[in-house]
Structures are given as structure tokens and as C-alpha cells.
Symmetry: C2
């Protein structure tokens, strides 16, 4: 019975996601659904990304948070449109919550809409929000076994950002283990090794996401 | 409608949790439900705990994992009874899954049963497994804003273990921020600042959990 209920929820989510997707395609806005564990660095990645490509592209952000607007507060300084969705305990965003706020954005004057999902490596990967693709962010301090243990997100992701590479010297993180597990799950997925603190490796991410935005706007 | 479905699920979960709780009380076994984000250090904490108090108490472990038995493999060397529950994509353990495996343990010869829940700061905090209490593990590398942003677990927890204190010098983690947020949510909760890598602070945890086990066995 619970399986049928889950299917109904996912079907209704997919229908609404398709509406969002059609609208954004029409408006030529790229939508990126950013998913990670709590504290892997999604907000800091958005900070760095706004600083690097905010002059070139018009960026909007949807901040999914259980109960606060702290992440949105951190992004206010970039003077970009931001909408907060508080799930009030909910463990993921769904397409209905996105649909309700999408009209708050001036879509004719937007190139890319980043959605920072709830910090959770599991549930958000099951819900299409209408995005062009999901982006997986994972930090070295979580350990090198995450792709093997939480495969769903890594299977779905269009790219993987391995963050906090500056902390590798202080941990037992093995890049070989991590990469070998990841490639078994998603053999061709682009992997960016980055540190949002030191800035290492971010250039590759900026180029990759810029190409995606240009393609979608074209 | 979805709210009613959720209430039914939680009601059925609570009924089964009460059965588990009654059985474990009768057998004088303490059950601890360990919850954290992915990679906060639950398995390493169990390794250290087995090494420190495994000679004094008879320990059993239920390993919740989405799809592998990797954590259980890490604990095999302690020669303790371990049962793996694979949720096959599920984001939390529930009391029905515990009830199904509880008879695999020789409860007359067990002092404490640790349950390592799925790595998820949200969903597991809503499901009573029949435990005596929930234990929150959070790592410094996740950032100092986790109690404020994910309050449910920290409100429920009988104790909080702040792990990876050895990495604080390499991050912007503020203990004052963390502690102030935590105390607003759960003013009297014991907080152990530990490093499962260096061993710092673990003595306080060993003493605290030993007292709990002795009380429950008495």
C-alpha cells in the first residue's frame, strides 16, 4: 500500500515538474537542482559562483531550508533575486513548492536559476523539480565511501563536485576509492575537485556551468 | 490527505516501537538510536566505543544502510553480534524493520544495542525504533549552523556528540555559535566535544554511556 501511495506522490510531482520545465524552457532559463548532505558546501559554492559569473549571467536562487533563512541571508550581498522555501520539517523540495514561487522571478530577465535543496543525500534525489539537471556536491570530510553507500544521487547527477579538497591532508580520504566507486555508478559523469575555501579547481566548474547556461539561453 | 497518511504511518510505527521497547525493557537491554548526517562519524564512534567498553559490556549493533554492508564489515573485528538492515533506497529505519531482526540477537546475553541509523539529519528523527533514546552525532566540518537549521534531531537527542574537533583549526567553525544555537533548542542536553580520530574527549562519552547501560541493566 505504501508503495502505491509513493507512486501517486511521485506521479503528481512529475506532472507539476513538467509544467515548471516547460515554462523555463520557453523562457530559456537553465534550472540546476543542487543536492548534498548537510554542510557539504552548497551555499558557499553559490557564493563563489555568484562572485565569478554573476557579472556575465543573471542569476536567481531558490533556497530550500527546513526552518530558517540563513543561507538566503548569506547570498543577499550579491543583489540577486532569492526566494526561500521553508519545508517546516520536510526532508526535500518538491515541484509543487517550486511551482508556487516560480512566478516571483522575472523569468524574462534571468539566465540561470539555482535551487539549493534541503541538506539530505537521499530524499531530494527522487523528486524532479523541473530542473535541467541535478548537481551532486559532496565533501571530502564525509569520507570516500559516499557514492557507494548513497548511489541514487550519484547515478542521477549531471556533474559531481567534490568539495573541501583543502582538508584532504587532515583526513583518511582516498581519492582513488572515491573515484572508483563513483565511476562504477556513473562512469562518464564529470567530476570537479574543488575547494570553495581556497578556490582550487573552481575555474573548471565556472567554465562548465557557463557553457550549460549559454546552451540553454541560445 | 498526505498529512493523514503520514499520521497513520507514524501511529503504526509507534505501536511496533512500543512492542520493541517492552521486549528490551524486559530483557534489560539499553537501545541507542544513533543519528547523523552522512559521514559525521557514527561507525568510527562505534569502533572506538567497542574498543573502550567492549570488555565491560556485551554490545550488539544494528547497521542501517541503504545498500551495502560496509559499516558492518568495519565492525566485524570486534566479534560482536551485528545485523544489517538494507533499506534499498529508504531514508530512515522504522520500528517494523527493527522488530523483524530483534530476535536474531540473544537478548539475554546483551547489555546494549546500538542502532546506526541511515545517514540523514531529518527523517530518522521522526521515527521511534523502540530505543531508550536518540543520540545526535554532528561533525565540525558540517559547519556550526546545523542545530539551528535542522532543529528536530537536536530537540529529541538525549546527548549530542560534536565529532571531528581535530579539524576545527582548518575550518571556520565557531564553537560559540554552535553551542548557543544548540542550547536555544535543547538547553540542558549534554554535549561531548570529541575526535574519534585523535581520541580527544572520548572518556566523557564512555563514562556517560556506561552509566546509562548500568542503569538500564540494573
Amino acid at each position: 500500500m505504501e508503495i502505491k501511495i509513493m507512486k501517486n506522490i511521485l506521479d503528481r510531482n512529475q506532472n507539476k515538474a513538467n509544467e515548471v520545465k516547460n515554462l523555463l524552457t520557453l523562457k530559456k532559463v537553465l534550472m540546476v537542482n543542487i543536492i548534498s548532505s548537510p554542510g557539504a558546501g552548497k551555499t558557499t559554492l553559490l557564493e563563489r559562483t555568484c562572485e565569478a559569473i554573476g557579472g556575465k549571467f543573471r542569476i536567481g536562487v531558490i533556497e530550500g531550508d527546513i526552518t530558517t533563512d540563513r543561507d538566503a541571508q548569506r547570498l543577499k550581498k550579491y543583489n540577486i533575486p532569492i526566494v526561500v522555501i521553508n519545508t517546516e520539517g520536510g526532508c526535500h523540495l518538491d515541484s509543487h513548492s517550486i511551482s508556487k514561487v516560480i512566478d516571483s522571478f522575472d523569468l524574462d530577465n534571468l539566465d540561470v536559476l539555482f535551487v539549493e535543496n534541503i541538506g539530505n543525500l537521499i530524499c531530494p534525489s527522487q523528486f524532479d523539480l523541473g530542473e535541467n539537471f541535478k548537481l551532486a556536491v559532496v565533501s571530502t570530510t564525509e569520507g570516500d565511501d559516499k557514492p557507494g553507500k548513497y548511489p541514487m544521487l550519484f547515478r542521477e547527477a549531471e556533474a559531481v563536485l567534490l568539495n573541501k579538497t583543502d582538508l584532504i591532508p587532515y583526513t583518511n580520504f582516498s581519492f582513488e576509492s572515491f573515484n572508483s566507486d563513483l565511476k562504477k555508478i556513473n562512469s562518464k559523469v564529470p567530476l570537479f575537485e574543488i575547494s570553495c575555501t581556497s578556490g582550487d579547481g573552481l575555474e573548471g566548474w565556472y567554465n562548465w556551468i557557463s557553457d550549460k547556461i549559454l546552451l540553454s539561453n541560445g
